[in-house]
């Protein structure tokens, strides 16, 4: 659609007026829902792709999203007003999740379809969310999470919502392209995108969750404590591996402060993703992250030669953790092959 390109250019230029004009004109032609999901949503997808291939920065990502957000607001003002005819849905992002935009789009679409929507935004601390559910008693809570490392938090939040007697629908990139993690976490529903989420809520009533359960019931492998121990000791682990890395890779000694900072941050990310992969016991989550990191580093012109020794040194530190060993080894083998 041409409007996607026009909106992309306007948002990239930080031109709110032009962005709003594009969106309002497209809404006249294609209707609100199409513009929300295919035009504005299309631009947001492109933001993710452009960022991953280093054509825009995180700051630009935020700026574009802010312009898009204003476009949604402008659109929402012109939305045909009608009283909600369907159930009440609370839409929120899990704690630590900054990407509020997919949740915002879902809220707008659900409101268009006639639901009563409470949109709580990004970064919702679980205690706030649960209090809100008790106060308002919605029929469904829709939780959004984009970043895989928020999965353990998302799981805890889902369990808490269910324990409050509210069925949980989840969505977002974190749950996997086919919703694998959503199912394993015992979600009452998973939707691939806002459109199918709205369709699903219209066509069925999600059952009230049964008796409260503990998150560990969903993931029996957590009994081996690998996740707990690796996450609890993450900072020490990062520090130790960083020191070892300086010895192993002489080039690091001539790094600038900023390069050091980046290397440490990348290392912290690897440990964070390893922890998440241990939590869901999914080797491919870690492997995908590593190949994605490799691609992003390449795109940024950052030398990737520290990646391999990093995994090696991590493996040495985590000798007593069989699942972590397996994940780190898998990558080494993939590299060799």
């Amino acid at each position: 659609m041409e409007a996607v390109d026009l909106l992309w250019e306007a948002a990239l230029a930080g031109d709110e007026h032009r962005a709003t004009d594009v969106v309002l004109a497209a809404a006249e032609d294609h209707g609100h829902e199409t513009v929300l999901l295919d035009v504005i949503g299309g631009v947001q997808h492109r933001v993710g792709r452009e960022w991953a291939s280093n054509r825009i920065s995180v700051a630009q990502e935020h700026a574009i999203t802010a312009i898009n957000d204003r476009a949604v607001t402008a659109l929402s003002i012109t939305r045909p007003r009608r009283a909600p005819v369907h159930g009440r849905v609370t839409v929120a992002c899990v704690d630590g999740e900054w990407h509020a935009f997919p949740a915002r789009l879902l809220s707008e679409v659900l409101a268009l379809r006639g639901f009563a929507v409470d949109y709580l935004g990004a970064q919702v601390p679980t205690p706030h969310l649960i209090t809100y559910l008790h106060r308002t008693g919605p029929d469904v809570v829709a939780l959004s999470s984009s970043i895989a490392t928020r999965l353990p938090t998302a799981h805890a939040t889902m369990t808490a919502c269910q324990a409050a007697g509210v069925p949980v629908m989840v969505g977002g990139a974190a749950f996997g392209t086919d919703g694998t993690h959503a199912r394993r976490f015992g979600a009452n529903a998973w939707a691939a995108d806002a459109r199918s989420a709205a369709d699903m809520l219209l066509s069925q009533t999600l059952p009230v969750p049964g008796r409260p359960h503990q998150p560990v019931d969903d993931l029996p492998h957590l009994a081996d404590q690998e996740y707990t121990l690796v996450t609890r000791g993450a900072r020490d682990l990062v520090r130790q591996v960083y020191r070892d890395l300086e010895e192993r890779v002489p080039a690091m000694r001539s790094y600038s402060d900023e390069q050091r900072q980046h290397t440490a941050q990348d290392l912290a990310h690897i440990v964070e993703f390893l922890g998440t992969a241990l939590y869901v016991d999914d080797d491919s989550l870690f492997a995908d992250f590593l190949s994605w990191t490799g691609a992003v580093l390449d795109a940024r012109g950052v030398p990737t030669h520290v990646l391999e020794p990093t995994l090696d040194l991590l493996g040495a530190q985590l000798r007593d953790f069989p699942r972590a060993q397996r994940m780190l080894r898998l990558h080494a083998r993939a590299d060799a092959g």
Binding site: S57, V58, A59, H62, A66, G137, R235, R239, Y242, A264
Partner: protein
């Protein structure tokens, strides 16, 4: 001979079946219970046999001569008790999950209609807009609505709803029942839901085909007492949450509106995840001639106590603005006000006056012991405003120096609290985020819309902190809007 006569006199029904399957003999208890055409050959050992509205467990004993003695053990009461215990457990676990009164009432009505009566109503004490009533007919979905009903029409209902004086369950004459209560009931019983200090409402059970036995009524009371505790806990929670909301409403960061000449965005994150308010604050006030007065600050301390202090400071600033808009005099007056209040703690604050001018925005900034605001130019240049001053609320006199800056279209001025720069963490877990890192990050933020700027800064600080603890964090961005080409 003794054994023969003793089985015959046993209160437990027993009968003997010969090898051909014919009934060879029965004891008295069996004879009064069983029809003559009884066919024990169809029984299975251990299974339940239903006779005369009761339930018996059939126990088979093989005799030496090949005949079989069937003992029938009455288990009617046992099964009933087991069902009731299961029902109470199910209801308790369903009610335990929710602190929402409406949902609790729905669970109670649904379960009562499924197990105790043909129709069940749960009526809560009157709210400002009527009585919340949940009604459920067996096999149907429960409905919840606010109804304007006269509870005095139903004997015992108003006492049950008040929760005082204590009343037992009351039978209602179905013929005298008002239309809204029941139309086709044969038997109606009203049971109070004991709330223990908080009236929880009443449970009304309706049967169409038969009356309630004493035993059933007694069980309904047990059911109601559990339901009442849960509903009243939910009501108490709701009341408390409403009170908290009302009392903290003025302490929450203000919702910023949009102005044609100024973009403003603020963001707040309290130190504790369970709280929405803390010791940081910001506010925006409108002055004559399209000018805006902004204030951002930090009360020493955190948590609810600090939050109440921010409320006082914000009120004081708003009041002082009516008489003084000059920064030096405003901060001096605020200093005096804080010094003369016993319970006050000192604050750091920065105030700003924003005036639209031809070139964009003219901003006067004055710090009272607070971090100087950072100016982010559209090209990514970052500079600190040259304003300094003493903390407010400690010394009898304060000294302040005001800076004036002009924001061209796309430029921003960022006011922030030390929760951002003192965020502790980082990849190695032992560093402060620091002013230097903040400035470096802001060089990538030239030309950003105000809300993107504050969100970006909060995200960087939050990621820096990770799962660790942090102080209250507040940011306020003032941006000169880009102009329509």
């Amino acid at each position: 001979m003794v054994t023969v006569s003793s089985w015959l006199r046993s209160p437990c029904p027993a009968l003997v079946v010969d090898t051909a399957g014919a009934v060879h003999g029965m004891n008295d208890a069996a004879r009064s219970l069983l029809p003559p055409e009884v066919l024990p050959s169809e029984w299975q050992h251990g299974e339940s046999v239903h006779l005369a509205e009761r339930s018996y467990a059939a126990h088979r004993v093989d005799n030496e001569d090949g005949s079989v003695t069937w003992w029938l053990l009455d288990q009617t009461d046992l099964l009933l008790e087991r069902d009731r215990a299961a029902l109470l457990t199910r209801m308790s676990s369903a009610l335990m999950t929710s602190l929402n009164p409406e949902r609790c009432m729905t669970v109670v009505a649904e379960m009562a209609a499924a197990h105790l009566a043909d129709e069940a109503l749960v009526i809560a004490p009157q709210s400002s807009s009527g009585h919340p009533v949940t009604r459920c007919r067996r096999g149907e979905a429960p409905t919840y609505e606010l109804q304007q009903v006269d509870v005095e029409e139903v004997v015992g209902l108003s006492e049950a709803l008040r929760g005082f004086p204590p009343v037992p369950s009351r039978w209602i004459d179905p013929a005298a029942a008002p239309e809204w209560l029941a139309r086709d009931g044969m038997s109606i019983v009203v049971t109070p839901l004991p709330g223990h200090g908080v009236p929880a409402g009443a449970l009304i059970l309706i049967r169409r085909d038969k009356t309630f036995s004493d035993d059933e009524e007694a069980f309904a009371r047990l059911f109601a007492s559990r339901a009442g505790v849960a509903i009243s806990a939910a009501s108490l929670f709701t009341q408390q949450a409403e009170i908290t909301d009302r009392l903290t409403r003025d302490l929450l960061p203000p919702v910023l509106r949009r102005y044609p000449h100024v973009e403003l965005a603020g963001r707040y994150r309290a130190a504790a995840d369970t709280e929405r308010v803390g010791g940081d604050f910001y506010d925006v006030h409108e002055l004559p001639d399209e000018q805006l007065f902004v204030v951002l600050g930090d009360v020493c301390g955190k948590g609810l106590e600090a939050a109440t202090q921010t409320g006082r400071v914000r009120t004081a600033v708003h009041a002082l603005l009516q008489v003084v808009t000059d920064h030096d005099r405003m901060l001096a007056a605020l200093n005096q006000a804080l010094l003369t209040t016993d319970t006050s703690r000192f604050i750091t604050t920065v105030v700003g006056t924003v005036r639209p001018v031809e070139a964009g925005l003219h901003v006067r900034l004055t710090s009272g012991g607070h971090l100087p605001p950072l100016i982010v130019r559209v090209d990514g240049t970052v500079e600190a405003a040259a304003t300094r001053g003493t903390l407010v609320g400690i010394l009898p006199e304060i000294v302040t120096a005001t800076d004036e800056v002009v924001l061209a279209p796309g430029d921003s001025c960022l006011l922030y609290t030390d929760g951002i720069t003192e965020a502790h963490g980082g990849p190695l877990g032992d560093e402060e985020f620091g002013e230097e890192r903040l400035r470096r990050a802001l060089t990538a933020c030239g030309g950003m819309p105000a809300e993107a700027l504050v969100e970006h800064v909060h995200m960087l600080a939050a990621q820096w902190v990770g799962d660790g603890e942090h102080d209250d964090m507040a940011t306020l961005a003032i941006t000169a809007p880009r102009r329509r080409p």
